[in-house]
Amino acid sequence: MDMQGHEGHECLECRNLSFSYEKNVSVLKELTFHVHKHETVGLIGANGAGKSTLMRILVGLELGYEGTVTVESVPVVKNHLPEIREKLGYVFQDSDSQLFMSTVYEDIAFAPKNYGLSETEVEARVNEALDMIDIQYLRDKKTYRMSGGEKKMAALATILAMKPSIMLMDEPTVALDPRNRRILINVLNSLDQGKLIASHDLDMVWDTCSRVLLLSHGEIVEYGPTEEILSNQKLLEANGLELPLSLLKR
């Protein structure tokens, strides 16, 4: 049992993770944390804190790190990347970088096809993903003719269709209108997978995450229950953040 009172079953674990793009310029310093199965963890921090870099390391897009990173006990190293990437779903910050096929259907079907599912199974996966976030109407839409919000939802569906055991999301609510933001929050709360969500939208983090990891200049400043960290005005302000809007007195 760990200090937060959770049983084991970590689906994502980092121990003493350090990383730098250039020599002597550390982007991440000695990070140690874990995400349990079925748990949603928020990753917050000011711009340049290292959130996106951490995400890229977790999915194996940056490999020259020190320390250990494991996904369901499989180390994130070159030889295990195909296995790791079947377990992880990563929603990019910029949806334009995520969608590359000409229609939403084809884009969502891309991963299931690559994982060798039959045409019928692929069709079922695509429909399931579209239904989950209520975007059946986008099914045959051209990805290059969609609004930012629609792209964001479609990008999320591309990952849901993979049925990953853990989802990593970089700024998932960016470009979403209030209705779609609410749908997304409901979807995130209904998903059973472990989730690590990097975001500046602290209200969304409040609504979806049970624990929060606060990063500053590549270091973990605080890691604990969401209510405790997000209601600590002094702590947030000292690290370039502000209280969630819903907690601000008007």
């Binding site: 990437r85 334009d96 290059y144 993979m162």
Partner: protein, 266 residues
């Protein structure tokens, strides 16, 4: 819509043509590839004065347009730059080869005119056949067919990614151009002094985007080949398509069909 926007739209439009349900999209990609390659080889193999023997090739082009339900006007618009260029290839023959070969009333047709038109037709047929192959098959299935022919994986991958990179490059160029024009409202086009930085930016940004897209593909199971569905089986209609067209092409090459047909009436 800006010119760059339009170019991106046209590329995507071409992709969309290939995924519609038409009699031609149902033909196996390898068969369509082979027929197209055979047609192009046959077209370029004609002698420069064999204009009439080449003419039945129009039949193939028209039939593919019809069976593939490819909009003719839109296609001509897409090929508006390449077709005139192709047509210019044999233009100088008119001036160099002035030997009379035919008389149409008082009009003397020289060998140069004949060879210029033949060259023009060869070019137009080849471009149209390639265009029709892409419009009825799609680049991913063409790559699949190339792999079936055991073309090295690396070459097929290059072809597939280059095709995708074009839209990324155009998209980034469009963004940069919009940002420039909004801050230089009285200028027509881009001032030559900023061409260098803009092209540098374009290269760096499009490389970044291409890299992100590649990451996104890899994270979703991409292993160097676009998956086009379950292994595409060959059907009787595929073999019929191959046999009928190759038969027609062989006839076209061995006999002057236009002359034979003309002989029936004269």
């Amino acid at each position: 819509m800006s010119k760059l926007d339009n170019a991106i739209y046209e590329i995507h439009d071409l992709d969309d043509l290939a995924v519609r349900d038409t009699p031609l999209t149902g033909i196996h990609p390898l068969i369509k590839l082979l027929v197209t390659v055979f047609f192009i080889i046959l077209t370029v193999s004609f002698d420069k004065y064999q204009l009439s023997a080449m003419l039945p090739g129009i039949f193939y082009i028209l039939l593919v347009f019809l069976a593939g339900d490819i909009p003719f006007g839109k296609s001509m618009k897409k090929l508006r730059i390449i077709l005139p260029l192709v047509c210019m290839v044999g233009l100088f023959n008119v001036f160099f080869d002035r030997i009379p070969v035919l008389r149409l009333g008082t009009f003397v047709v020289t060998g140069g005119m004949m060879s210029a038109v033949t060259l023009m037709l060869k070019g137009v047929f080849s471009v149209l056949a390639s265009y029709l192959l892409i419009a009825t098959t799609g680049i991913d299935k063409i790559c699949y067919a190339l792999r079936l022919l055991h073309l090295p994986k690396i070459i097929v991958l290059q072809l597939s990614l280059t095709y995708r990179y074009i839209t990324v490059l155009l998209g980034e160029a469009n963004t940069i151009f919009c940002a420039y024009i909004l801050r230089a409202p009285r200028q027509k086009g881009v001032h030559f002094k900023v061409w260098g930085p803009l092209i540098g930016q374009l290269l760096l940004r499009s490389m970044d985007r291409a890299n992100d897209l590649y990451d996104s593909m890899v994270l979703r199971g991409y292993r160097g080949a676009f998956y086009v569905g379950d292994k595409i089986p060959f059907h009787l209609k595929d073999w019929m398509y191959l046999i009928l067209w190759t038969g027609f092409f062989v006839l076209m090459r061995c006999f002057n069909l236009v002359q034979l047909l003309g002989g029936l009436f004269v």
